[in-house]
Each structure stands twice: as C-alpha cells, then as structure tokens.
C-alpha cells in the first residue's frame, strides 16, 4: 500500500500537470510545470534513485523550466493570456483522456505487475557510472554529439537574419 509521501507527491504532480495545461496565464502554467517536474524528482527519491533525482532537478527544474519561462516572456502579453481552444474539441479531449486512463489502468491492474514487489537493496549508483563507460559508451558519445548538434541548431534557428553585425554590437 502507498504511504503518505507517495500520495502527497501524486497530488502535487498530477495537480500541477493539469494546472500547467489549464491555467490561463502561460507564465503560471510554466511555474506549474516546474511543480510537475519537481514532483517526478520526488518520486525518484522514493524509488531510491537519488542520482537520477538530482539530475532531474538540475536539468529539468533548473534549466528546461527556466528556458521555457524566458521563452514565454518573449511572447506578446495578450498572447500569454489568450486561451486558444475549441469547446467541443475540449470535451472530446477529456473523453479521450478518461478512455486512456481507464483502459490502460485496467490493463495494468489486471496484469502481473500488481504482484511484483521487492525486498532487495536498491541499485548502487556506481553501477550506473560503470554502465555508462562500459556497455553504453557508444550511446554516451552519440548523446554528447546530439546535445552539441541541438545547441548549434537552436542557435542557428534563433539567429536573426535581418539584423546586421554592426547593429548587433549596439
């Protein structure tokens, strides 16, 4: 049975995920998204994975959420508060959400996952480091290249073509 910390984290995570999508202001929405990402980090702590939890806090809450917040600030003010959605489409979306929740939840509750419990000690985080440099080293290098490529691509995409270099210095 789940304990109190788990239930509190569930409420925070699911509640702020709904708030992130439904809040009128995009700024408050992105702050609510920070709550979701932090709640997931809390789940990682509960799962005895402190290394992944701290990675999640550093990368998601620390950088991605702040990046999103800054992008939202670049958008015009009336667009930040404008909800663009169709009423009928919204009800259809809620129906789709409930169908997915109920059907997938029923499948999982009916499957063998329910009986899986463990008394074994948690995985040592030194094993993760060993995994990275032994079995997964090509993937690690590829990931580094993908990250470098994506940063370069983001810079090239966001660069303004209509501004001259001498204007840029002023």
């Amino acid at each position: 049975m789940a304990d109190a910390a788990f239930l509190a984290l569930t409420v925070i995570t699911i509640g702020s995920a709904i708030a992130a999508l439904e809040m009128r202001s995009l700024i408050y929405g992105s702050i609510a998204l920070m709550g979701t990402l932090g709640g997931i980090a809390g789940f990682f702590f509960l799962l005895d994975a402190p290394f992944v939890a701290l990675f999640q806090l550093a990368v998601y809450v620390g950088s991605i959420a702040v990046l999103i917040l800054f992008t939202v600030m670049l958008v015009k003010r009336e667009l930040i508060f404008k909800m663009i959605e169709d009423r009928r489409r919204k009800f259809a979306g809620i129906g789709l959400m409930l169908i997915i929740m109920v059907s997938l939840g029923a499948v999982f509750l009916d499957s063998g996952i329910k009986t899986i419990t463990t008394d074994e000690p948690a995985v040592d985080f030194r094993d993760i480091g060993k995994n990275f440099v032994t079995y997964y080293w090509p993937a690690l290098i590829l990931m580094g290249l993908v990250l470098a490529g994506s940063v370069t691509g983001a810079l090239v995409l966001a660069r303004r073509e209509d501004v001259e270099d001498d204007q840029r210095t002023n």
Binding site: M1, A2, D3, F6, T13, I14, I18, L21, L26, G29, S30, T36, L37, I40, F44, L47, A49, F51, V52, F55, Q56, Y60, S63, I64, L67, T71, V72, L74, K76, L79, I84, E85, D86, R89, I94, L96, I100, G105, F108, L109, I113, K114, I116, T117, T118, D119, V123, I128, N131, Y136, A139, M143, S150, V151, G153, A154, L155, L157, A158, R160
Partner: protein
C-alpha cells in the same frame, strides 16, 4: 518498500493521459511543448520504477539518457517557437500553414 510498482505505473498512466489530452486539445505551441514534457516524464518514471523493482541498473541509465535527449529536444523546440513567432507574430499552430500545400 511500502510503495508497489503498480502505484508508480498508475501515476505514469495518469500523466500520459493528461499529456495526450494537452496535445489533442491545445492549439498553443508552448502548451503543446508542456504536454510533450509531461509525457516524457511519465516515461522516465516508468523506467526508474521498473529498474528499482527488477532490480537492475539499466532503468536508471536509460532514464538519464532520456532526460539528456529531452533537454536537446526542448532547446530545438523553443527555438522553433521563437522562429515561428517571429514569422507569424502568433503562437497558434493553426496559423503555421506555410508548409501546407
């Protein structure tokens, strides 16, 4: 452990459903990016939960890879938002039609 694997899996299913709802209903580019983030986090939660209960270090390793790739995806997605906003002065995806034949 007092918490069982099924608890974490059900939270993950709920987050997946919320993310799909956001992708289906919202027309704001930035909110759709929020929905994608929520779905990716649901997947990461599953990876770490199964890695804990097997127990196997592969789950956490994959979760770390997934977090790093998601960071790259957000960087590119946000710069696409900036470019599209500069071109159309809007964040409504229904306005981004220049590729439509």
């Amino acid at each position: 452990m007092t918490n069982e694997l099924i608890d974490f899996t059900l939270v993950s299913v709920a987050m997946l459903a919320i993310g799909i709802y956001g992708l289906a209903v919202k027309r704001n580019f930035i909110r759709m990016l929020f929905a994608v983030e929520i779905i990716i986090n649901a997947a990461n939660l599953n990876l770490v939960a199964f890695g804990r209960f097997l127990p196997h270090a592969g789950g956490q390793t994959m979760a770390l890879f997934s977090i790093a790739i998601a960071a790259a995806e957000v960087a590119v997605g946000l710069s696409l938002i900036i470019v599209a906003y500069r071109m159309y002065q809007n964040v409504d995806i229904a306005d981004f039609r220049s590729l439509k034949g």
